[in-house]
Amino acid sequence: MSIEPSLAVTIGGLRLKNPVMTASGCFGWGEEFRAYFDLNELGALVGKAVTAEPRPGNTGVRIHETPAGMLNAIGLQNPGVEGFIADILPRIRDLNCPLIANVPGHTVAEYVRVARRLTEAGGIDAIELNLSCPNVGRGGLEFCVAPESVAEVVSAVRSATRLTLIAKLSPNVTDVAVLAQAAQAAGADAISLINTLVGMAIDVERRRPILGNVTGGLSGPAIRPVALRMVYEVVGAVQVPVIGIGGIATARDALEFLMAGATAVQVGTANFFNPRACPEIIAGLRDWLRAHGIRDVREIIGAARPGATPAP
């Protein structure tokens, strides 16, 4: 007789019933997916970016498919933190899975303001800082490229909220491990990565960039090997839990990240080409563990790292 394996993991103060979350900007606030599965099955729901003021988003073409991936330049369209608290939060706060808000900012003060309002409002369990934003105070260089600015944002938000704090890192940097260490030292409870890789596409007949914004973020299965390598590096550099993101579409993909040392994963683009991607990944993880006689998902976290117990 086989025992039902445990999928539960812990990230900071969050207890997740399984290690599968949605990735920010790829799942709305879940409402669009209620018709396809029970959202309470999710380990956690990471919602769309919430900014201090409402943002209309970019004009022109916002998405474009590429080989096994897609480019997006949405421009952080959202109703702003007050709009979110008034209109969206009441509709989702009863969900029986942790809710994580993704918070971008152009200044340290903006990150702090949004984090504080979300904390006061209640109903949000964790904040994921989107550090891939131009820092107005530093000539527009993204926060995530310099360890000092990562540390500045993380420690400022740390003192403004008691919620679990996740620092989301960008792959468009020279040394992601150094940035992860800076986030950890400044008080982040966890690191999530990767955000999208900056890319572009050109319409050769019209001889101009396809996206209205010229460049956009590449996501989907195409980026998975890069994401996996970066997660592997960061797990080796920090002690806090790492959340792996990038191209995850099946349970096998999720297992790669867990074996690289990620404590949990986020599923983004896969929700677009399979609205049931998350529940299928959760079920697939459970099946894989059962088939391999493993009782607890935590036994396979880091299983592919040097020094881990070899496969039986």
Partner: protein, 264 residues
């Protein structure tokens, strides 16, 4: 909303590069309303990655099947046109806001190119209704005029336009609309087709003060409202998602000028 693995029951080429695929999808057929669409993935692989959006052309509730009519323009549509009967596709829908049914004595259906499917579906649903249906169908050339027989069978009078003059009016389908609006009887306009045709139709309707609903297209990733990739500018600012606030919009809801600027 239903997510199904759907068997292809029929595949036929109705004009050069224009195909009709019939799917076995009883739940979707039962729920479908004119103007709505489905997302289709023709294969399990990751290239092409994203599903493709297609308007529902026919929904036969009794037979439990859904038909789409499409033109092969790229990899996704080419792959779909190779799915022979007996093969399977993944499909979800029906999606989006359908046409509001008319209350006027005349209904003018305007279709350009592969914009014909939602308009045919609407005509079929109105076949028993007491209004007079007028179908205006345009294409680049006579060999690409599709769906016309279906409009006639639904009881519509049909007028045609071709860019090359090979059949019907030599010119744009919107020229026919201007003329049709001169005729007596209060009308509602329903339109689907390429962007320039929609913009012209909306402006003509707004200028004439005639109620008009248009089914729009935009690049889509998810089709369900999650990616914010499919937005069009609303009149008065902000963006609307074509996949869930649309694809059908009333003429006065869209900022046509901003939409034209954004994607041409």
């Amino acid at each position: 909303m239903h997510l199904v693995t759907s068997e292809v029951l029929d595949l036929r080429e109705v004009a050069p590069d224009h195909w009709v695929t019939t799917f076995d999808a009883p739940e979707i057929a039962a729920a479908a309303r004119p103007g709505q669409f489905v997302m289709v993935r023709a294969g399990p692989d990751w290239d092409p990655l994203l599903p493709r959006a297609f308007s529902i052309y026919h929904a036969d509730i009794e037979a439990g099947c859904v038909e789409i009519l499409y033109r092969v323009v790229g990899r996704g549509t080419r792959q779909l046109a190779t799915l022979e009967p007996g093969r399977f596709a993944t499909m979800w829908g029906p999606l989006g806001r359908p046409f509001d049914l008319p209350e006027t004595e005349r209904v003018i259906l305007v279709a350009g190119g592969v914009g014909v499917p939602p308009v045919v579906f609407l005509a079929e649903r109105l076949a028993q209704a007491p209004m007079r249906l007028l179908g205006l169908v345009g294409a680049s050339s006579r060999k690409f005029l599709v769906g016309v027989e279906h409009l006639r069978r639904a009881g519509a009078e049909v007028r045609l336009a071709t860019d090359d003059g090979s059949l019907g009016h030599h010119g744009l389908v919107t020229d026919l609309l201007a003329a049709a609006l001169q005729e007596p009887g209060q009308a509602t306009i329903y339109a689907c087709g390429p962007q320039p045709m929609l913009v012209k139709t909306a402006r003509t309707a707004l200028a004439a003060g005639v109620s008009c609903q248009l089914a729009l297209e935009a690049p889509m990733a998810c089709g369900v409202g999650a990616c914010l990739g499919c937005t069009v500018p609303r009149a008065g600012g902000s963006f609307a998602r074509v996949c869930c606030e649309g694809p059908v919009f009333a003429a006065q809801e869209i900022d046509w000028e901003a939409w034209e600027r954004g994607s041409i």
